[in-house]
Amino acid sequence: MTAPFASIEERVNAAIYSHLANASGDFGGGLVVDGMFNLPPADVFGVIAGNSPVFVVSESEVVNVSRGDTVTINAVSYSITDKKPDGIGNVSLMLAKA
């Protein structure tokens, strides 16, 4: 069975990170990955406003990164509370300030 779009997807993902990556995440142990760091506004209980930090990276680069690991982005240390893959090669790392 062929998957003709898979290689295209891979090339497109690589191009996305080469143009849109806005931060480097240092996971320790020499692992530094470029990705897209966002701080979208969010609120909880309809009362408390803040941000919900997320770091989107290529899934293949963080295969050995797990929930509970830490990453430093822009000199701020975060712990990874969740990994949300999108099924097409990217993963959103949900972050909480360590």
């Binding site: 609120d43 209980f45 009362v47 408390i48 406003a49 803040g50 941000n51 300030k97």
Partner: protein
């Protein structure tokens, strides 16, 4: 003069000012969201009230049972449960069995609910303390506590 319910809300806010965990971050009404600098904090809400006419006369006496909710909010990575319980301890100590400077017959806690949300950059915890406050007014004088 304002409705006794409004006076009660103000009295509760005054009573809850300066507590160990929440300090002066006590709000009786908010038109905008709380942020990091505002936490930990207390929000006071009057949710509902039932009224019973006690005497049959031209100016009947009304027994009012007010449901007042004090919501405590805190944001932290560690010991959030303990912080919320501290908030409850401090609030209950102030309000339980209080007459709020004569505005009510009694104020007693009815229920407690606890919730957490980890959407933001740190988990946020909420503890909701529901109080029943019994007070009396005349039918045509809702701004005077009897």
């Amino acid at each position: 003069m304002s409705h006794v319910r409004s006076q009660i809300r103000s009295a509760v806010q005054t009573a809850l000012m300066g507590l160990a965990t929440t300090g002066n971050q006590v709000f009786a009404s908010r038109t905008y969201h709380l942020r990091d600098d505002d936490l930990p904090a207390l929000l006071i809400k009057t949710e509902s009230e039932s009224v019973i006419e006690v005497t049959l006369s031209s100016d009947a006496m009304m027994t009012r049972e007010l449901t007042l909710v004090v919501e405590g909010y805190a944001k932290a990575n560690d010991a959030l449960d303990e912080t919320l319980d501290d908030i409850a301890d401090e609030v209950e100590s102030e309000l339980n069995e209080s007459t709020l400077d004569g505005l009510c017959r009694n104020c007693i806690i009815e229920s407690t609910e606890i919730g957490f949300d980890d959407t933001l950059d740190q988990p946020v915890g909420r503890i909701s303390l529901t109080f029943k406050i019994v007070y009396f007014t005349g039918a045509s004088t809702p701004s005077v506590a009897l």
